[in-house]
Amino acid sequence: MIDIQNLNVVFGSGADRVHAVKNVSCRIAGGESFGLVGESGSGKSTVLRALCGLATGWDGEVTIDGEALEAGARRSDAFYKTVQMVFQDPYGSLHPRHTVNRILSEPIAIQGLDNPGSRIDEALQQVGLGEGFRFRFPHQLSGGQRQRVAIARALILKPKILLLDEPTSALDVSVQAEVLNLLMRLREELSLTFVLVSHDLAVVSHICDRIAVMRNGEVVEEVTADDLARGQPADRYTRQLLLASKGYDRAAIDQFEDFG
């Protein structure tokens, strides 16, 4: 479904040149859910942004659903019907002065689809929001409800691939659990392919089967979630991340290496 070969992303030039993603390659099959995990600045979100066309200065070979992508070129409408994205901050990604109805109408209008009313109803139902939410503004919704609206907006075009950039990081843990359950259910019901980016090893391994661990723009290791659960990743950096995700342990911290 997604085939990435030697993806490189560079921002700026001269002294400000940042090589954000270095030779990343991976293959993601249809219906699979793939995770990218790493600390800030590791390039995980940039990979996602290159895939969906938000980062334009990349090179490498990227094929999504049979369509070879070109850096910098405008993506086709058909591409956005296949690939949709959910962003981290549900407070920033919804227009504050548009109702839920208008937010969800926009992708339908862009794609020139019929029956907007019933499509909106269906999408709201899929994410567990009732009719009553349709004419509300984002400020009348809680963080979890907003993220559901953002997911509904992504689903309304019936995409095959969902790109998820830290979809639960801004939410309380109890709300995070609800959104994670929702994502798992939707993936099964709609046979979606997920690419999930997160800094949280537990979240990634809950949702994803395969996980690429990134550091400084490079993939240091690709592990299966099962191997991670057994606590046996091969790479030292991954082991350190895994250890750090278990909580505070004074003795272990002195053993931490600086991977720079």
Binding site: G143, A177, N181, Y248
Partner: protein, 278 residues
């Protein structure tokens, strides 16, 4: 523990809004000795307002009331502003979440730390500089001279938070209130900063109030935990006993966390019982 360092009884914080009175903190009581106390809760639980009320930093139009709120015999609610100004940053310090917002962007790091020190101690400029450099070294900054001259935008988030800790501990306070001090940091950096905080707090025998949303982190870092919900304390626990927590809210918070080593399909969802709030 004989006399507690800090004693709070029936602390309430309320805000008058157009839609009526919002009670952010409702009847919170606790004692603190020279130990690490964690206050955990989700957003809106009142944990941060509790921390702020201790230093009378509740923003207007907030109102604070309490039966008692004493720090080492000083009545924090009734103390004159002057005395409170001496306490703040002197004997009680506070570290906030994001160093980007708590450091002055147009002042060098060194000058800010020095200023904090000289506000509470009679000391010469050069004496303050020596002490500031020592403090930067104590928070394990490798090149204190360089960081001393740097502006906040020239340092990373983890470094910024260490600078904040240096600034807050330079007056040798008895109590440190840390409100989500490491939530903006990457997980490994977060733990390294906590380790520094931990070492300094135990070396100096201070009391620490650690406010966080991260139950597991607090349980592994602190001695005791208060679990807050809806402005009230749901449960008080010895940190090591977290996994024997009785209250359904604490249990719910624990269970809804995804785990690396158990990949069950559905996460249990927390159901809130209005009966928890009396």
């Amino acid at each position: 523990m004989s006399e507690p360092l800090l004693s709070v009884r029936d602390l309430s914080v309320s805000f008058d809004t157009r839609k009526g009175v919002v009670e952010a903190v409702r009847g919170v009581s606790f004692d603190l000795g020279r130990e690490k106390l964690g206050i955990v809760g989700e957003s809106g639980s009142g944990k941060s307002q509790t921390g702020r009320a201790l230093l009378r930093l509740t923003p207007p139009p907030g109102r604070v009331s309490a039966k008692t709120m004493t720090f080492d015999g000083i009545d924090l609610l009734g103390a004159p502003d002057r005395q409170l100004r001496d306490l703040r940053g002197g004997r009680i310090s506070m570290v906030m979440q994001d160093p980007k917002y708590s450091l002055n962007p147009v002042m060098t790091v060194g000058r800010q730390i020095r200023e904090a020190y000289r506000a509470h101690t009679k000391v010469s400029k050069s004496g303050a500089k020596t002490k500031s450099l020592e403090m930067l070294e104590a928070v394990r900054i490798r090149d204190p001279e360089r960081v001393y001259r740097a502006y906040p935008h020239e340092v990373s988030g983890g470094m910024g938070q260490r600078i904040m800790i240096a600034m807050m501990l330079i007056t040798d306070p008895d109590l440190l209130i840390a409100d989500e001090p490491t939530s903006a940091l990457d997980v490994t950096v977060q733990l390294q900063v906590l380790a520094i905080l931990d070492d300094l707090v135990s070396q100096r025998g201070m009391g620490l109030i650690f406010i966080s949303h991260d139950l597991n982190l607090v349980a592994s870092f602190c001695d005791r935990i208060l679990v807050m919900y809806g402005g009230q304390v749901m449960e008080e626990l010895v940190a090591a006993e977290l996994h024997n927590a009785q209250h359904p809210y604490t249990r719910g918070l624990l269970e809804c966390l995804p785990q690396v080593d158990s990949r069950d399909k559905d996460l249990p969802v927390l159901t809130r019982d209005p009966g928890w709030l009396l």
